[in-house]
Amino acid sequence: MADTPVPSPTKAPSVEEGSARLHLSRRQALMALAGAGSALSAGPLLGALVSGRTGRADRGLLANGAEAEGARRWAMVIDLRRCDGCKKCTEACQTKHYLPPEQEWIKVYTLRDRTGVEFNVPRLCMHCEDAPCVRVCPVAATFVNRDGLVLVDQEKCIGCRLCMAACPYEARYFNWTEPTIRPPLPTIPTPEFPAPQQRGTVGKCVLCVHNIGHGELPYCVVACNMDAIYIGDLDADVATNGTETVRLSTFLSQNNAIRLKEELNTKPRVWYIPGHGEDLGW
């Protein structure tokens, strides 16, 4: 699992110091994210992603980044200055993950700031570093994979819904009925690609872990016409919205990025760039 070469932050593609913009093609950026300089090494990495970590449900309270050598620290950035609330992200996510309309793994809230101006906030699973849902799960159905993503093993879930109570972001959904939408071909649902959903269990955003491990963008990132959603890796320190690639740390600090409900100390892996003084302290 640890034998796949991964670029360390220092080996990240050449960057002009202090600039958030990297001059990389989309493909190059994705390959950097996939932990490979060339398409050849993406293969083994994909293998590692699919077989290695999924079989092994890390059940600690936290994924131990130090222990999982070669792991990613996936992160997402949502630029609220760009979001126009079109819900293309929600639509794409639901279609591609075969979800019913009431399960909005990425949900666009339309809120008002103190001056009455409307703004949009897409909310997905925050993939918290200290995830309350993982802590309360009685059977380790919710776990953190070695890349720090919070996933649900619907084969294990007993449907007690305490994780829904514990999640401060209402990011979790329950399958109250037998799912009516199914993939066209029979699939074996996995925590990484839980389709079709299982009745009586909890589902939520998987950050398209089935895609990002081998250089594909999450569906919501692809679907966003406004290029408002970035996917990146905190260790490689890059992020991309599919059109442009940025140096993640600089991008976050220069734009005063914030995280939702920071006071709860859940340490989300999703950042928001307010920009217009939106009121994000619900």
Partner: protein
């Protein structure tokens, strides 16, 4: 120890009262039992339907993920504590008047705990996977704490019912008519554990009953605290509160003592136990109830005051919806009818009658169930982002299952008292003057 080994007629009267429900319960028994069993069967059918269809049939949705079953879980396990308290605390404080009601109180504790525990399964989306809690429990989860606490407490209530019962089971064994089936004989011979009432046996029994009476108090406290903590280990306003453990414990005691009042009154009337259970018993129980109601009111006030005074962004809407919003009729209804009126009925001399005290107890039990809904629903439906509240539906499945669980308690008690005497004969003989000697006691 035998107080006043009085005339044989007094002893016969006690035995007749205590053992009649086992031998000839009365003409009403089977129609009532079958009626209750019918309700429970319909509820079971509704549950099967829910298992097949999914939890949506109980009115749940993503914006109202907890509701009636969680309220039932807390309410039914809560009433179980009343039985344990009445028996354990009165035992430890050596309150002699307890003797005629301990058996019923202990049986209430056991039966309502079993029914309440069922809701831990009924509310699951995947009940068939509950074995995972046993083979792969995660110590960090409050659900696992619940499992450990409830199962330990279940064992303790069963022992607590059984130990003081041993001498009475021996009496039952000795009373069996010659024509009793061999299996029945063997059963009572087995469960009586060879009790003959020797001083050594009595010493052992008293010591173990004393030990379990002490043990059951922290156990019961832990069960209701852990139930509360399952809610307060989340960051949700209205649940994330340090008051929740004791708040739930007092609520459990209050509703539980109230249920004991109702059960004792019902069986007193049905089995004509007026000679052994007098108005004084109800007055004493009602006083305990009134004190607990006042403490619960204090906790409720404390909760609302601290949240409503500071009015954080998260807590303010919960307080508002409770005090003046959609839940206000239920909340104030609970305060008036579930707390004030029961207290008044319990303490005023004008209402010092079994009828009024049972009314007070009934208001308390129903009011506390409503309060559990008020604990569960507003927080479960409150928005964490934005301001759209969830809505819950009351469905026939949820109602039928709830009514069925309610019917299961009297049914369980009626059946249990077919197998054991409804009065603690041996204890009454020991503690109360005017009763009869115990089997194998000094009088033998």
């Amino acid at each position: 120890m035998v107080a006043n080994a009085r005339t044989p007629s007094s002893r016969d009267a006690l035995h007749d009262a205590a053992f009649r429900p086992m031998e000839a319960p009365g003409r009403w028994f089977w129609p009532v039992a079958l009626g209750l069993a019918g309700i429970v069967a319909v509820a079971f059918g509704a549950y099967v339907y829910q298992v097949i269809e999914g939890l949506w049939v109980a009115g749940y949705n993503d914006k109202a993920f907890y509701g009636i079953y969680e309220a039932n879980l807390v309410a039914f396990i809560g009433v179980s504590y009343g039985g344990a308290l009445v028996s354990a605390v009165l035992r430890l404080t050596n309150a002699r008047w307890r003797a005629p009601i301990t058996r019923m109180a202990e049986a209430v504790a056991l039966v309502s705990l079993v029914v309440g525990g069922a809701f831990a399964i009924i509310h699951l989306g995947r009940p068939e996977r509950i074995w995972r809690l046993i083979v792969d429990p995660q110590a960090s989860s409050p659900i696992v704490w619940d499992l450990i606490a409830i199962s330990t407490y279940l064992l303790a209530t069963a022992i607590f019912l059984y130990l003081p019962l041993i001498p009475d089971l021996a009496t039952t064994r000795d009373r069996l008519p010659a024509r009793a089936p061999r299996l029945v004989r063997a059963f009572y011979r087995l469960v009586a554990l060879g009790w003959t009432g020797t001083p050594e046996q009595r010493r052992l029994l008293n010591r173990s009953v004393g030990a379990i009476a002490i043990l059951i108090i922290p156990l019961a406290v832990s069960v209701h605290s852990v139930l509360a903590w399952a809610f307060s280990m989340t960051s949700r306003a209205g649940w994330h509160s340090s008051i929740f453990g004791p708040y739930f414990v007092v609520g459990a005691l209050y509703s539980g003592v109230a249920l004991v009042v109702i059960v004792v009154a019902a069986f007193r009337k049905a089995y004509r136990l007026e000679r052994y259970i007098s108005l004084d018993h109800f007055v004493s129980l009602a006083r305990i109830m009134a004190v607990l109601a006042a403490v619960y009111l204090y906790f409720t006030f404390s909760e609302m005051l601290t949240a409503g005074y500071v009015r954080t962004r998260e807590e303010a809407p919960i307080v508002a919806v409770m005090l003046e919003g959609a839940y206000a009729p239920a909340f104030w209804g609970f305060v008036v009818l579930g707390i004030f009126v029961p207290i008044m009925l319990s303490v005023l001399s004008a209402t010092r009658s079994v009828r009024y005290l049972v009314l007070a107890a009934a208001l308390a039990v129903v009011g506390m169930w409503l309060k559990r809904m008020l604990i569960t629903l507003p927080t479960a439906t409150a928005p964490l982002i934005g301001d759209v509240w969830g809505t819950v539906q009351l469905t026939w499945v949820a109602i039928v299952i709830t009514v069925g669980a309610t019917a299961a308690i009297p049914l369980g008690l009626m059946l249990i008292f077919r197998f054991m005497p409804i009065l603690a004969v041996d204890e009454m003989t020991e503690l109360l003057p005017g009763s009869a000697p115990a089997v194998g006691g000094e009088a033998r």
